[in-house]
Amino acid sequence: MSSRIAILGAPVLAFLLGGCAVQGKSFEPAAAPSNTATIYVYRPYSFFGSLIHPTVQCGDETAAIGPGGYHPFVVPAGRVTCRTGTEAADELEFDADPRVYYVRERISLGVLVGHPQLDPMDTDEAQSEIQTCCKQQQ
């Protein structure tokens, strides 16, 4: 009986734990024209909140990033706003120079649905964390 439960349960568990993670190319720097800023929004894999894929908007571009995914937003240098939200919203605004920025998306506890948060990150920390993420296919 217990072996039958294990046989049936293993694929379910595998789906629940890994099935929602973004599948795609591992991190590679995006090509960006001059006078543009590249904002990498990445979401390290976490089982909690993995079914939520809130849309992130940076400038005029949007992307729904799943757990373990990242998306490079290439935007004109200048004032840029990135926002996301479910039942609660988060917003980041910065004067973007033509360089690379990193923003980490995470999901915190919500009432009905998790709250996405956009954390501006130091380059050093972000560069190691984003290596574990795959490019989000839109």
Partner: protein, 187 residues
């Protein structure tokens, strides 16, 4: 008339216990709500501010992102120059979600994490290349977030910027006579 039997726990029906339970229900979430909804510092009322006793040219910095006193004292052609720089650093403290989910107080609007923004500003004033004033200020804004309330990073950034500019303005106001003397101007 037969009485309905009920489970009675000694002490749990005493008036003191009921009063304590009621006080806890009212006070515990109330305090947390108050903490979460603490408003960011308001932007200073600029109507009471006076400009510097001289005009200056901005050589470094964003003209739309200046302390109000400096913004009031801008001129395109002045030998006096302003150089203003502002920098924000961010910190976050998060309670792991599994712990938040298991913590009953999180459902009573207890904070499950905190955002911290530190703003650092520096202003240099020079007259013909000679420095006549150098001011720095630092402010730290921290706001908790929870299940029912979450400040946005932008709100905190704006509050931190406003606070650090207010601090620079306060220093400029305190040194107004010295600055006037150093440029030979009088009010």
């Amino acid at each position: 008339m037969p009485r309905k039997s009920s489970l009675r726990i000694p002490g749990f029906s005493s008036p003191a216990f009921l009063a304590l339970a009621l006080a806890l229900v009212v006070l515990a979430p109330g305090c947390a709500e108050q903490q979460l909804h603490e408003p960011p510092p308001l932007v200073a009322d600029t109507s009471s501010l006076r400009p510097l006793p001289f005009k200056g040219r901005l050589v470094s910095g964003n003209p739309n992102q200046l302390p109000p006193i400096v913004a009031m004292s801008l001129s395109d052609n002045s030998p006096i120059t302003f150089s203003y720089r502002e920098e924000l650093t961010h910190e976050e403290h998060h309670t792991p979600m599994i712990l938040s989910a298991l913590e009953n107080l999180a459902f009573l609007s207890n904070p499950t994490g905190e955002y911290v923004v530190t703003a650092l500003a520096s202003l240099s004033i020079s007259n013909g290349g000679e420095p006549i004033g150098d001011y720095t200020a630092q402010t730290r804004i921290a706001r908790p977030y929870g299940m029912y309330s979450q400040p946005t990073h932008k709100e905190l950034d704006d509050a931190a910027r406003a606070a650090v500019r207010q601090e620079i303005d306060r220093k400029l106001e305190a040194e107004m006579p010295k600055l006037a003397a150093s440029t030979g101007d009088t009010e």
